[in-house]
């Protein structure tokens, strides 16, 4: 990410000695308070929707503490962040972290997430550690301010005060937070750096947007010592779950505005076809439907959703498109990537000369090429969005994007309106797994353009087939790996070179098809690995990038985008594969081999703990009964690790392979994680298990297929993901540390899985699995090779 430039310079906050003044919320903007006190009814309501949505156009001032945190007179607390719940439990963790610093119960806190007009900061939803740092500091500042107020009110020095559940006590007296602030808010300036997201073609790092980090709170207010934690480390339930279970939750697909039209899109026949003619709509069959077109963006709208569905199917049958065939076909993927002239790496880490010399002098070297296919995020719920573009130029978009401010910037750019005219409101929806992290991909541009054309609110619901064909993809990787071993079988040098198409195209499809302004993606790649093996003295890591396959199409071909554990998932597959091959070559147990190549005690501890939980017995791979023929199953076990965002992960897979059929069944998976201080053990455990499921899905099943014109894996029969029956027994191991801060507790869980499964495959069969997925067809090729 580029360095942030502070555009809101403020004096460093000195809240601990400052005299606090209080003033009525009205001076800070009464609309803010009202909009929170009166929930905005957007679901089927007739009167309030437009008025409510247009009452506030811009985001809250991040330098005002009350923009982040508001204490209500009845002791409840409203906290606001532009980051969202992505399904990994962050709405619980945010509440826990704030509650801890304020010494209140987490139940007292309600969160407003992701709405651009009701939150102060912006930022990546996946950037939980950064978002948490913000709200934690804000809570700590607030706590100090409240103590100061209480000291005055109670006539007791701050040092004599204690707080329990929002009640400040001292000198035999007590007062609640609510009583301290009454209906007013703390008037406290806080210091921030950062800026709101903008579409900025000069951004060098790929996605064409600046400011996606949003604002960061600076300074170091005193924090509660870990030893005094009461809320962090408990399994506080995720607040949104009861409403999701009863049907009360309101999702982005549930937004219904007065006069709203339902739209279904009619997409080009290939990833590069342009429109020749739409054809007429039979008005006797579809009396209230209408065909809309802007450039190559074609849609059918109707007040009745089912009419929109059926009329769009009819139009799709009559529309004529030009031919296009600019893709190589997925069967030619490796050949195509290998044939590309890559030029210089986008990023290179390490000393090339030293590594070359070490490899040249090593008594033993191992070289291997690893290949990973195109995969995709593939949520169960396809993209959906509602947009209302009004005659005064104001715009409201209802979204499930994981980057509300980035989306606001993109919509403003596409419609050529100032960002201040655009409000993005966030609601729950199907998981995104990274595809909207840059504020791109999705149905929002479709909806906004159609709303602009019709002058009415428009809801655009993508179909699954459309989503699997037209949403962005996580690109294929080729990885050339080389290790040099000394006479004792220790790795003395590693050279890794990864080759991949573009993976940060944040454009909105509707804008591309309509020929309207878009962000500017720049091809490139990066070294994502966080190096775990400090006892390997020399390494050279190089990441090569190229444009998306089919990029010369008017629509960008297979638009590459990041996906869960981006780049590192793929690079770690090759690195861990290489380590497993080196361990086998050295004749050392693969866990022992890793222990011999690191001095990092956290890695050592989680490796040992996970091995113990899995009942790992030390021996070399492959197993002495390994075989690659026969109808009886053959078993194996394998290990991999990954270090990411101050967290250490270990995966141990146990599998059974039937050589005659190529069927791989993972029978047990043990996953261990040390992510510093565990905030919520139960949710961490759930995320570890669910991450393993996604990782197994990638290891065994997932692969985007395409011919020369289009994606061909466009339903759940052709884009296969793991089913419940294929899930093995899962075992989890957690290490919580009080002295290592907080680490990322979800993302890498999927990435640790495929290399462990590949290692287990080698253990079982004696054949290295350097390519995924390990479906029966590929396994048969591997075993015959």
């Amino acid at each position: 990410m580029p360095a942030q430039e502070p555009i809101v310079p403020t004096e460093p906050a000195t809240p601990f000695t400052a005299t606090l003044t209080r003033r009525g919320f009205v001076k800070m903007g009464g609309a803010l308070f009202v909009s929170i006190a009166v929930p905005i009814e957007i679901f089927g309501s007739t009167a309030t929707a437009n008025a409510a949505a247009s009452e506030s156009r811009t985001s809250l001032d991040p330098t005002q503490l009350a923009s982040w945190l508001e204490i209500r007179s009845e002791n409840s607390i409203v906290a606001r962040t532009g980051r969202t719940e992505t399904g990994t439990g962050m709405s619980a963790y945010y509440a826990q972290v704030i509650a801890e610093e304020l010494s209140v119960r987490p139940e007292a806190i309600s969160l407003i997430l992701g709405d651009t007009d009701r939150t102060p900061d912006g930022g990546y939803s996946a950037g939980f550690l950064y978002g948490m740092a913000n709200v934690r500091k804000v809570a700590a500042l607030t706590y100090q301010a409240l103590l100061g107020l209480a000291a005055t009110q109670l006539g007791v020095p701050v040092s004599a005060l204690s707080v329990t559940d929002g009640i400040v006590s001292g000198g035999g007296k007590s007062i609640s937070y609510g009583q301290l602030v009454q209906t007013q808010q703390l008037d406290l300036k806080i210091s921030v750096t950062g800026k709101y997201a903008t579409v900025d073609p000069s951004v060098p790092d790929g996605n064409g947007l600046a400011g996606l980090d949003g604002f960061s709170v600076t300074g170091d207010p005193p924090m509660k010592p870990v030893s005094q934690y009461k809320v962090i480390g408990t399994s506080y339930p995720v607040p949104g779950i009861p409403d999701k279970v009863t049907g009360k939750a309101r999702w982005s697909c549930d937004v219904a505005l007065p006069g709203m039209l339902h739209a279904r899109m009619v997409r080009p026949s290939t990833l590069g076809s342009t429109l020749i003619s739409v054809g007429a709509l039979d008005k006797t069959k579809f009396p209230t439907a209408e065909v809309l077109r802007k450039g190559n963006l074609v849609a059918v709208v109707s007040p009745n959703e089912w009419e929109a569905v059926t009329a769009a199917q009819s139009v799709a049958g009559t529309a004529k498109w030009t031919d296009w065939s600019g893709l190589p076909g997925s069967e030619n993927l490796e050949k195509t990537l290998r044939a590309h002239e890559w030029g210089a790496p986008s990023q290179s880490k390490g000393n090339a000369d030293e590594v070359a010399a070490a490899l040249a002098s090593a008594p033993k070297t191992i070289s291997a090429t690893y290949e990973l296919p195109y995969v995709r995020h593939a949520p169960i719920g396809p993209f959906v969005a509602v947009a209302d573009v009004r005659s005064d130029g104001s715009v409201t978009v209802w979204t499930h994007s994981a980057q509300s401010q980035g989306l606001r910037a993109q919509i403003a750019n596409t419609l050529s309106v100032p960002a201040e005219k655009v409000v993005v409101r966030w609601l729950d929806h199907s998981g995104q797994y990274g595809r909207t992290t840059f504020g791109g991909d999705g149905a929002e541009a479709d909806a906004a353009i159609l709303s602009q054309l019709t002058g009415k609110p428009v809801r655009v619901q993508w179909t699954l087939q459309e989503d699997l064909a037209w949403s962005s993809v996580s690109p294929a990787y080729l990885l050339d790996m080389k290790a040099g071993l000394d006479a004792n079988g220790r790795v003395i040098a590693v050279h890794s070179a990864s080759y991949t198409p573009h993976q940060s195209d944040a454009r909105l499809l509707g804008a591309i098809l309509a020929g309207m302004p878009c962000s500017t993606p720049r091809p490139g790649s990066w070294v994502a690995t966080e190096w775990p093996y400090d006892k390997i003295p020399r390494r050279l890591e190089q990441a090569y990038g190229m444009p998306s396959l089919g990029a010369e199409s008017a629509y960008g071909g297979l638009r590459g985008n990041i996906m869960r554990t981006p780049g590192q998932r793929q690079q770690n597959f090759a690195l861990e594969g290489l380590l497993n091959e080196a361990a086998a070559a050295a004749g050392v147990d693969p866990i022992q081999f890793r222990l011999e190549h690191t001095t990092d005690q956290r890695l050592i501890d989680i490796l040992n703990a996970t091995a113990k939980a899995a009942g790992w017995e030390s021996r070399t791979a492959p197993h002495h009964e390994a075989r690659k023929t026969g109808t009886a199953p053959v078993t194996g076990r394998g290990v991999s690790i990954i270090v990411r965002s101050n967290a250490y992960w270990v995966g141990i897979a146990e599998i059974a392979v039937v050589p005659a059929t190529g069927k791989v069944q993972v029978t047990k998976f043990t996953i261990g994680a040390d992510c510093g201080k565990v905030i919520n053990p139960r949710q961490l455990g759930l995320c570890m298990k669910s991450g393993v499921v996604m990782g197994l899905s990638e290891a065994l099943k997932e692969e985007v297929s395409f011919d020369k014109s289009k994606v061909t894996s466009t339903n759940w029969s052709s884009y296969k993901i793991l089913t419940m029956e294929e899930m093995p027994d899962l075992k989890i191991v957690q290490i919580s540390r009080d002295d290592k801060g907080f680490g990322g507790g979800s993302e890498a869980a999927n990435a640790v899985v495929p290399p462990a499964v590949a290692a287990a495959f080698f253990d079982a069969t004696g054949v290295h699995a350097r390519t995924l997925p390990l479906n029966p067809a590929r396994v048969m090729v591997l075993l015959k090779g």
Partner: protein, 177 residues
């Protein structure tokens, strides 16, 4: 052309006006504002839209409205009523009641994004109606091999679902939510 039909949903009769080939899902969501069932694949491949028809799971994204007429439709919004009826609770109690399946989904913290979970709870209802105490293998089999398709979860919550089904089974046998 739209017809007026009477639909029995969650214990209440509703007159709806829709073309008879309209999939039940669109009627439930857009006419009756029952948004528990959600559109996933639209082709009976994922289970996100599942509802009960006379206690049997169907995929509302493909089942036409005409097919539901004369049958009792149950969505997750109606599960408390199902439990209240089984337990002989008063209508007033329904508002305060959760079905044991729902309570188990909360207790086990099953939903991550939660998009598929309405359908998962409906599948659990279908299974527990036939098998009061399913084993892990039986749960995996039911959620994978019951026609027309596996129930898919992309967040990967299958382990939590299994725990929740077994918890719900215990609660239902004990007669408590």
């Amino acid at each position: 052309m739209p017809d007026e039909v009477t639909l029995s949903v969650n214990g209440a009769q509703h007159v709806v006006s829709a073309a008879p080939d309209t999939p039940l899902l669109y009627v439930l969501r857009n006419e009756l504002k029952l948004t528990g069932p959600r559109l996933g694949c639209g082709m009976a491949q994922c289970g996100a839209c599942a509802v009960l028809l006379d206690g049997e799971e169907v995929r509302a994204c493909v089942a036409p409205l005409s097919y539901a007429v004369g049958k009792r439709v149950t969505t997750i919004e109606g599960l408390p009523g199902v439990w209240a009826e089984q337990r002989g609770l008063s209508p007033e109690d329904v508002a305060k009641t959760l079905h044991p399946v729902q309570q188990a989904w909360i207790d086990e913290q099953v939903p991550q994004c939660g998009y598929c979970q309405s359908g998962m709870m409906i599948a659990a209802m279908g299974l527990l109606a036939k098998n009061k105490n399913p084993t892990v293998a039986e749960i995996k089999d039911a959620f994978t091999n019951t026609p027309p398709s596996p129930h898919l979860c992309r967040c990967g919550t299958y382990a939590a679902i299994i725990d929740a089904v077994q918890r719900a089974a215990k609660s239902m046998q004990a007669g408590k939510a």
